[in-house]
Symmetry: C2
DNA sequence: TAGATTGTTAATCGATTAACAATC
DNA sequence: TAGATTGTTAATCGATTAACAATC
């Protein structure tokens, strides 16, 4: 029952943050933590933390709190971090290369398998030991290499075409860095990193801030 | 009155998306658009679009809709995109360089002024015409160059120290790419791009998806 | 004018917080 | 056992959607 209930996206978006703090506690050798202590660290209310966790099961113990190692392991399990993911990047520009090199992914089961490019000068080369293949080989390669995740670091103009090819190749998720909203089939998960949107919303507050500061003069 | 009412962050986060679609319409030479047409494109309800816009003023006209150019200009105004922003990046690693090179910023009034690094091999060099200065010069340089925005592309271990220096140097906003939650004074705006959190929430849906697919076999 | 579409109020829905009984 | 803290229900708060009168 409760296991089948669809969990709200806002809850899912908070899980990686729980994970980060639990990792930190683990590193510090702390072995138990209460929702109140977590609240002080993470900044969510204790009530919200308990509600969030109880979407997935009762991981705590009354009168004691939560076991740090066990809870971390549970959250890894929930997020699906207990396995490997094969990834391919489309676009070997600055951002694509940065993502390819980002050490994060080599650890923790994220494997960058291939980079796809249109620029003939780059095709055939290796970037950080990852082979750069022709954009035209995308569908077959994605399929043959069993790619789970497609990462889009192309221009906004090519992004939808690239997404389509990733989907035809059989990826289960797309991590999109191009500043467009893509259409993908229901069975493909989509996560956007819209950097320009992010900067623009920052600037909203900055411009407000600077005006407020001017007012005080 | 209504101008002073604090506008919810969820609304602000939608504004850049309105901007993107209005830009697109403008490029296509469309000169009027209704909330219903916008709804079909953007995917928010027409009702929500009208509610959002009316937080800032009545930009439409009954029986007609919204003038594309005028509305785009209004949203630029609201977001604070009608001026220049001087930016400095801390961390000249892959991500820092990618952000520095990202052409987006050169256009539209975002100027990357300086990059700060600890690695002595990089200090004094130029990356894409931007000078790389010693991390130790941060506070003074940020102040003297009138930097508005600090961009953090360091490790999570250095991020808080870097944020402190940006704040002491007088930035009004911080764009943080390090996987930590930073403490900054109230008058400094903070926008996080937590790439690992983003990937982890994607993987939640991917792993669910793959399990569901397996079940169907 | 008639038709269209906004601006805005009211109704609904969902997410967060508070409270407390259950229990370790 | 007594104290602490969870799991969970109920209350509140805020955000979204629906409805419609105002008006171009």
């Amino acid at each position: 029952m409760s296991k089948n209930a669809k969990i709200s996206n806002v809850v899912i978006k908070r899980l990686p943050r729980y994970k980060r703090y639990l990792e930190e506690l683990q590193k510090q050798g702390v072995d138990k933590v209460s929702s109140n202590e977590l609240s002080r660290m993470i900044g969510y209310t204790a009530s919200q933390i308990r509600q969030d966790l109880n979407n997935f099961g009762g991981f705590g113990q009354q009168g004691y709190g939560y076991n740090v190692n066990a809870l971390h392991e549970e959250i890894n399990q929930i997020l699906g971090l207990n396995r490997e993911y094969r990834m391919a990047i489309a676009g070997a520009g600055n951002l694509g290369q940065a993502i390819a090199n980002y050490t994060l992914y080599y650890k923790n089961g994220f494997i960058v398998d291939t980079i796809f490019e249109v620029n003939p000068k780059l095709i055939g080369l290796k970037i950080n030991d990852i082979e750069v293949l022709d954009f035209d080989q995308m569908v077959d390669t994605v399929h043959d290499h069993n790619i789970d995740l497609g990462i889009i670091c192309t221009t906004k103009e090519s992004a939808q075409e690239v997404a389509d090819r990733f989907c035809r190749g059989g990826v289960h998720g797309i991590w999109n860095f191009a500043p467009v909203d893509l259409k993908v089939p229901d069975h493909v998960a989509l996560e956007n990193v819209h950097l320009s949107d992010s900067l623009h919303s920052l600037v909203y507050y900055v411009s407000r801030q600077e005006t407020a500061a001017d007012d005080e003069k």
